[in-house]
Amino acid sequence: MKNRQPLFHVVKRDQAGPGRQLLAYVAAVVLALAVGAMLLSVQDVEPVTFYRQMLTMGIPGSRYPWRAVENFIRLFVPLLIVSLALALAFKMRFWNIGGEGQFIIGAICAGWAAMKLGESLPRPLVVVLMALCGALGGGLYGVFVAALKVRFGTNETLLTLMLNYVALYILQFFAETKADWNFFLDLESARPKFAKFPDNAQMLTIPIGPFNLNLSLVAAVVLCVLIFVYLNYTKRGYEIAVVGDSPNTARYAGMKVGKIIIRTIFLSAALIGMAGAFHVSSAGILSASVTNDVGWTGVVVAWLAKLNTVGIVVASLLITVLQFGCQTASTTYPSIDANFANLLQGVILFIVLAADFFTRFKLVTRSKTGKEAAK
């Protein structure tokens, strides 16, 4: 037989330190931006200026820089909360990809509270009630799937995925059905069109000079801390980790696995629903594209961050900068639109996965092994 050797083979590395891993991620992002730069050059866009505009999000030189920050926060908060909530479910190896649906149901429930109670109750109470309604609606929508899984062993990935479309079409139904009962719509408009929420249903803000700090950001930060503590230090968090790692072991340790799954998924979906409520409350209106794909992007963020709470904050910041930055930068460049952000996001994810591989394995080339063998 010929003494044929493959060009290289894959060799496992020893455990990489956190510093090395961090370096790999930074390198991955830089590499992704370089790929993006090539694509920009092809379209005759100067990459450096584009990236500068993108990363500064058009804030310097703007007449209303605080406006840009406010809009940035509006995009950032839902993504952060949804990613955190998904991480909660993923930690338990429950593949909740129904963030979109839970977000929409949360938004609809919050919209219901806004339209029904917005006129009669004080503003803080309405906002809180909207958040609670959103949480309850989203939570129940998620628990439905968890209960089916616990009771009948159904596949949660399929069910949450399909329920996304159910929720989407419910929302579209409300958006397009002109009828007396449909209190979501603007009565004055001839075409079906969502009505603006009453003023008392607008998200509370804390004015700092000309800048209005959206209270949902404060809520999101508090949630971050709470979830970090919940996952890492509480008994319930411990249960989630054990169930995710080995359901048999959990059962054997006397845990009620079904109960834990239902509780955790309710929490996860409720947080997503609440994010939906925050979002519509900040926007002051429902819309057919209310989610801004946050249920999908959240999955990306949760995985980029390896379900680590701090990582989620960083990754969701990064992704929001990409999206919001591209949006603002594209106003100057007609050939580039906001989809470029999605493209970059995809490239980053891809390269980070590759970087992950190279922190765990290395390639050894033929010539090197050949030399070793010759020794």
Partner: protein, 528 residues
């Protein structure tokens, strides 16, 4: 004598994974018509070495000769072409395929069409080698020994002249092992070169012509079996003198702690797994449970731990009925169950979590307030690491990073730490080397001296005869009898395991497994 050419020769083989050297400068050779035993403790690199012959790994350096010619084995396919066939410890069979199709699957000459004659071709071929297999039988319907036979037929069908068997006897009864050895001798007579990986010394002495011994990835020596004995082989293998006797301390026994009456359990498929079983365990005794793999041992353990509902029967612990109690309630009564499944991590441990977290598994809920008490867990982890000499970088190391022996010590250490009065342990030394196994036997004996009742579900009959006080034999879920370990023999146990010998009604006045001083009469129902 004329120098015969080696069927296979490995020279100076090195292989490392990351910074861990699995094989360091290993030499090995086999002649045609010879059986070579490859002996070594777990983690000594036996399987790694053989995987380089079967093309799964590539050596970092060193050379391999087949029939005197140097070869490079880059893939299992190359290995097959060179006439090397390996029967892996975990069978590589497709469960839903028939025996014939499993063989057909890997045959390159068979073409894309499943021909009708394949059943006859394979049947004839098996007959020629003296095997009795039904080519139409689906693998999932086969007993373990049948699967193994199929694996051997498969490598022979592919024309292997060099056959490697990785721990082939681990799953067989004594009679099946004898039959396998007959097959091996016949293949040897036909001029096949055979390498058999094992760590059972009696088998090495029985079957092999020469023994190559590895220790911690290093080549120690090769000796002729005729000039070797158990004591010497062990010293080569472990690197120092080892006492090969298992203690069986005599302890005052208490009244039955756990009594099982007429217990019937169904398995996941709804078939009867345990059929009207009676037995009891006293404090200060070890009751062994022997049986071929999959004879209801798992279901029995799960039922006692409250993880599986029973069909009928009684389970009485210290006079309290435990049927229908939750796993938690049973745990609280002091019944500890540890089952080491084949993958060794499946039950009882959370593999990605730290030793500390695993220590807390059964008691995390006892801490006051909403938080997990990791401080206590860490202290306990330190204690267990110290007491049982667990090798680990720290208490925060995920359990999956530890080696097999250490994983099992963590599990057993936690169970003992909880201070149980009944320990149900299944395969606690599965896959462990001699040293670790003896450490585990010592732990169990210590518990026995402290008055704990132990149910020991085991595989190795030699060990069970030495360690246990009594042995209950199961065959297809039925009790074949309970025998005193010091009065029985391996042959008797083997016959009982296959159902050929039924001693369950040896004493007419008292069926096996029912205690004279039973506490069942005093039974009271307990509230959960």
């Amino acid at each position: 004598m004329e120098e015969q050419r080696y069927a296979i020769e490995m020279r100076g083989i090195c292989k490392s994974f990351g910074s861990v050297a699995a094989n360091k400068d290993i030499n090995l050779n086999v002649r045609p018509g010879e059986i070579l035993a490859l002996l070594g403790e777990n983690g000594s690199g036996k399987t790694t070495l053989m995987n380089m012959l079967s093309g799964i790994y590539k050596p970092d350096s060193g050379s391999v000769f087949v029939d005197g010619r140097e070869v490079a084995i880059n893939s299992p396919e190359d290995s097959k072409k060179l006439g090397i066939g390996m029967v892996h410890q975990h069978f590589k069979l497709v469960d839903v395929f028939s025996a014939a199709d499993n063989i057909w699957l890997g045959d390159e000459t068979s073409g894309p069409v499943l021909k009708k004659e394949r059943y006859n071709i394979i049947h004839d071929m098996a007959q020629r080698f003296g095997f009795d297999i039904d080519p139409r039988k689906k693998v999932y319907n086969m007993a373990v020994s049948e699967k193994q036979t199929l694996e051997i037929v498969k490598v022979l069908y592919y024309g292997a002249k060099i056959i490697i068997l990785d721990e082939p006897t681990a799953v067989l009864t004594i009679q099946e092992t004898a039959r396998l050895f007959d097959v091996l001798r016949r293949m040897k007579a036909e001029g096949h070169a055979i390498i058999i990986i094992t760590h059972k010394l009696n088998e090495v002495l029985e079957i092999s012509d020469r023994v190559t011994i590895l220790r911690k990835g290093e080549y120690i020596t090769t000796v002729d079996t005729a000039s070797a004995d158990e004591q010497r082989l062990t010293e080569y293998m472990v690197g120092r003198k080892v006492e090969l006797n298992i203690e069986r301390p005599v302890v005052d026994k208490t009244r039955p702690l756990l009594e099982i009456r007429d217990l019937t359990i169904k398995n996941d498929e709804g078939a009867v797994a345990i059929d009207k079983v009676n037995f009891y365990i006293r404090g200060g005794e070890i009751l062994g449970v022997a049986g071929i793999a999959g004879c209801g041992q798992k279901e029995l353990c799960e039922a006692i731990a409250g993880l599986r509902s029973i069909e009928s029967g009684q389970m009485i612990h210290k006079g309290d009925n435990i049927v229908g109690l939750s796993p938690k309630a049973i745990l609280d009564k002091g019944i500890s169950m540890s089952f080491i499944p084949e993958d060794r991590l499946g039950m009882g441990l959370a593999p990605s979590m730290s030793i500390t977290d695993n220590m807390l598994l059964k008691k995390y809920d006892q801490a006051k307030g909403p938080f997990v008490d990791r401080k206590t867990g860490r202290a306990e982890a330190r204690q267990v690491i110290k007491d049982l000499e667990i090798v680990t970088p720290s208490t925060e190391t995920p359990v999956r990073r530890l080696s097999g022996g250490n994983v099992q010590k963590v599990l057993l250490g936690r169970e003992i730490k909880a201070g149980p009065n009944v320990i149900v342990t299944a395969y606690p030394v599965r896959g462990l080397d001699i040293n670790s196994s003896y450490a585990i036997y010592d732990i169990l004996n210590q518990q026995k001296k402290d008055g704990v009742g132990i149910l020991f579900v085991g595989e190795d009959l030699d060990v069970m005869i030495d360690l246990c006080d009594k042995i209950m034999v199961l065959c297809h879920g039925k009790v074949m009898g309970v025998v005193h370990a010091h009065k029985t023999s391996k042959e008797e146990l083997g016959l009982m395991m296959t159902g050929a010998l039924d001693l369950s009604n040896k004493y007419e006045d008292r069926p096996a497994g029912i205690a004279r001083d039973s506490r069942i009469e005093e039974t009271k129902e307990v509230e959960e």
